[in-house]
C-alpha cells in the first residue's frame, strides 16, 4: 500500500501525512498544505464551506495518486482533503509525496495539487458578511 486517500470531516494533520510517507528508502519528501485565506480579492471571508461528491472525490483523488505513481518513482503518497465548514487558517488539503530523490517529490506533489483542483468533485463556498459565492462557478 503506497497510496493513502482520505476525505475528512475533521481537521488535517501534515505531521501524520509526513509520518505515513516516511521510510528508510526515502531521501526527499515534499508536502503541500492548502489553507483558508482571510480574503479573496480584498473581500474578507467569514468562513468556507467545502462540499464533496464523496465517493467520486475519493476515486478521483486515488486516480491522481495512481497516475503520479506511474510517472514518478514514488515511495508513498498521501492526499487528505477536508470537507465541511472551515475557518480562516484551517487546512483544506494536505498532500505528501516521498521519493528516493527530491526532484520527483516536488514534481509529483505539484502535479497532484494542480490536478486535484481541476478534477476532484469538491466545491468551495465562500461566505462573506454580505453574501456567499461558489468559487469558480461563473466566468
Amino acid at each position: 500500500m503506497k497510496i493513502d486517500i482520505q476525505l475528512k470531516h475533521g481537521s488535517l494533520s501534515p505531521q501524520q501525512c509526513i509520518d505515513w510517507v516516511s521510510s528508510p528508502r526515502v531521501g526527499g519528501i515534499d508536502v503541500f498544505v492548502g489553507t483558508v485565506r482571510e480574503q479573496t480579492q480584498g473581500r474578507p471571508v467569514l468562513y468556507l464551506d467545502f462540499e464533496a461528491y464523496e465517493p467520486m472525490a475519493v476515486a478521483e483523488m486515488r486516480k491522481i495518486a495512481e497516475t503520479a505513481c506511474e510517472r514518478w518513482p514514488i515511495e508513498r503518497i498521501a492526499i487528505h482533503h477536508r470537507v465541511g465548514k472551515l475557518e480562516i487558517g484551517d487546512l483544506a488539503v494536505v498532500i505528501a509525496v516521498s521519493t528516493p530523490h527530491r526532484k520527483a517529490a516536488f514534481d509529483a506533489c505539484q502535479y497532484a495539487i494542480d490536478t486535484l483542483k481541476k478534477t476532484v468533485p469538491i466545491w468551495k463556498k465562500e461566505v462573506f458578511t454580505d453574501g456567499e459565492v461558489w468559487v469558480a462557478a461563473h466566468p
Binding site: A59, V93, K117, K118, I122, W123, K125, W134, A137, P139
Partner: protein
C-alpha cells in the same frame, strides 16, 4: 425511464434541491440530458462548465444512460 440526478455546489442551488427525479426517453444520452436540463434551468448556461458523472466517473457526451445509473451534475470544481 426515470433518472435520479444528484446535484452539488451551485448546481444544487440552481435545482433548488440535492436530488432530481426526471422522466426521459429510454435512449437518452448524456448530451440529451444536458440539453434538457439547460432548457429547463437556463441558469446552467451561465456556468463556466457543467460535467455529468455516471456512476462516479466523468462521462462522455454520447454515453447512453440507464435507469440504475447514479448520475451527478458536476459544476466547476474548486477544492484544494
Amino acid at each position: 425511464m426515470q433518472l435520479t440526478i444528484l446535484a452539488f455546489g451551485i448546481a444544487k442551488d440552481i435545482l433548488g434541491r440535492r436530488e432530481l427525479q426526471l422522466e426521459v426517453p429510454d435512449d437518452t444520452t448524456v448530451r440529451d440530458l444536458k440539453d434538457r436540463l439547460l432548457e429547463r434551468y437556463p441558469e446552467f448556461s451561465r456556468l463556466v462548465s457543467l460535467a455529468i458523472a455516471v456512476n462516479s466517473e466523468y462521462s462522455a457526451e454520447d454515453v447512453l444512460l440507464q435507469e440504475r445509473d447514479e448520475i451527478a451534475l458536476i459544476p466547476p470544481v474548486s477544492g484544494g
